[in-house]
């Protein structure tokens, strides 16, 4: 038996004993709906991305042309400080969405499920802005 044949046997075994779960494919198919159109992207500033002590909060900084966002994530609490935006902040995960008012530049959302999170904002001139996804 050649190595290629043996690998084909292994591939068949993987398909039998460790197949891609149907739910994983379903979630992947649904992910296109998370596409954002016409929103300015606030990019994660890599140098500030992974500032986390052993048990300290995760600190993330995002920046777009119009807006800056600093997130402080402790467990299921996301606290944000924004400049260049006003009104409401919408904290999104792949499965949830919460709107909270921005007060003096700050907003706080609780009960945010762990995983990916991003924030939608409205810049002072009305331009919609969305941060990149970051892992909480």
């Amino acid at each position: 038996m050649t190595d290629d044949d043996f690998l084909d046997v292994l591939r068949a075994a993987a398909a039998e004993f460790d197949p891609v779960p149907a739910g994983v494919v379903r979630d992947a198919s649904a992910a296109l709906a998370l596409r954002t159109l016409d929103a300015e992207l606030a990019e994660l500033l890599e140098s500030d991305a992974v500032v986390r002590g052993d048990d300290g909060p995760l600190l993330l900084a995002f920046e777009s042309e119009r807006v800056t966002v600093n997130l402080e994530i402790s467990g299921d609490v996301v606290r944000g400080l924004v400049t260049g935006a006003e009104g409401e902040a919408v904290v999104e995960t792949p499965r949830s969405r919460r709107s909270v008012p921005i007060l003096d530049g700050w907003f706080t959302v609780t009960d945010v499920p762990s995983g990916l999170v991003r924030v939608r904002l409205t810049a002072l001139d009305g331009t919609p802005v969305v941060t990149q996804w970051a892992r909480s």
Binding site: M1, D3, F6, L7, V9, L10, R11, A12, A13, A14, A15, E16, F17, D18, V20, P21, G23, V24, V25, D27, A28, S29, A31, L32, L34, R35, T36, P94, G115, L116, Q132, W133, R135
Partner: protein, 184 residues
Amino acid sequence: MDIPAAVAAAARGDQSAWHALVRQFSGLLWSIARAYRLSDADAADAVQCTWIKLVEHLDRIAEPERLAGWLATTARHECLQLIRRSGRLPEPTEIVDDSPDPAPALDHDLLVGERNAALWRVFEGLPDRCRRLLRVLMASPPPAYAEVAEALDMPVGSVGPIRQRCLNQLKKLVRGDELLEERS
């Protein structure tokens, strides 16, 4: 499948093009997550995050013809992030210190039917470095070596030689497995 065309269509919101990409690469992404020994929940999380990152980057993929490599790299980052968060350290993918024996003949009867279960059990017991490489190579449809290299952050030139050594090691273990011997 015309990957660049599917990427362009998906970027315009074409759900069927997106489905085609999901069908094409879900096997690769799942295999990568399993190669890093992620649990069901973490593997699902890593794969979903990889797809969401692709959605975010759909109109900014520099080389859409190399999408599989981009996905493999992104999946590796997602897996390593989850592993770091759980405090578990992955073992590096290394050259197997194993004399390159000629491949022993493997009884074909050994590999049919319920014997796949025994083969799978032996495979799961392989040293991490071999198990990891072979698990990615088992993806369906079969990935190119370049994608495997991206998934495991190893030189593309070493995929073939390590693959050979790891398959030889597995063949030896399969032959040495009493359960399999009885049936062969």
